[in-house]
Symmetry: C2
Amino acid sequence: MTPSATPAYRRLSVEERRSQLLDAALGLFAHRAPEDVSLDDVAEAAGVSRPLVYRYFPGGKQQLYEAALRSAAEELRQCFDEAREGPLLPRLARALDRYLAFVDEHDTGFGALLQGGSVVETSRTSAIVDGVRRSAAEHIYQHLGITAPGPRLRMTVRMWITAVEAASLIWLDEGKQPPAAELRDWLVEQFVAVLTVTAGRDPQTAELVGTLAGDDRD
Amino acid sequence: MTPSATPAYRRLSVEERRSQLLDAALGLFAHRAPEDVSLDDVAEAAGVSRPLVYRYFPGGKQQLYEAALRSAAEELRQCFDEAREGPLLPRLARALDRYLAFVDEHDTGFGALLQGGSVVETSRTSAIVDGVRRSAAEHIYQHLGITAPGPRLRMTVRMWITAVEAASLIWLDEGKQPPAAELRDWLVEQFVAVLTVTAGRDPQTAELVGTLAGDDRD
């Protein structure tokens, strides 16, 4: 496939160009392991010259991968953005819809991003992924109206987030079955179920589960 | 600390010696990241000469780490061994007791083993860890008396296993709070709760949850 020469000569700002290259890289990561994506591949996919890609990512593959991961992490964080109004569970469902759309779009690359196990994995990339997990947990506490989550609630929320990640990877493995809408509802139900279990051991969570049940009656 | 020379000259079989060195290595991994453990450290911890350790692990640090990981994986698999008699949930509780004792004993090393993110992480070590997860799932299906778990049951079991792993890592982070016995009961309750949620979407799981409830009445 010979890329059209036109995009290479369009005048883009530094930020636009960088973002174009990262989009191209994320597109490639969606179907190939990070270690199999070269800067040359990115140049070809973006339809730009190789030297241009090397100018933006002088640190090579590792720098490109980290930048793409940061960009994906930012996109993921945006999935969690949800207005703090209306019943809680539909808010969670909407955030999960956006999250699953992200997983769907990024496919194999999503697994590579999350799982590490790639040759370019470093403590820096792990920190980026952990940052997304922490951000997901923070969003949940904010929506739940909790400023100081106790250890049992925190453990429950973090376990559920990990379970959601596992579900996403299995979902990709299983040809995206069940349909995203069913998976979303199922994950919301699991959230309520594990909180309910914790409620039996933790007054803070018990109060929360009461609120969720009240919401439901609205 | 000068190690006593005696153990170096005890006559051990090749298998005994190898196992002694792996025990020493696992002991070190319990408190240090794999990349910070050298073959020299293992020699010192085991009280043997350096050339002896190099003879057993000519592939160096990576070979030692993989061998230690395999040995830990084997130990973990043994945690899951549980007679197939009596009510199901107490069997799960006993397996979790052994698992949490393993986590407790191996501490930091457990995280390093599971999480990857270490410089010595390779697809081979990931495969060993995935093998343990698969083995845990197989044990669960066997105890549940299920030979052909459907996709929804499989996803539920795998999500729960991932959640248990996450809980173990958080548990280590939080100074092993709550106490292991409480964590164990909590994890069993979560298992029942997530299966119950799935039962609403999957006849195979619904039947299973019926069996668990029957068990409970015994």
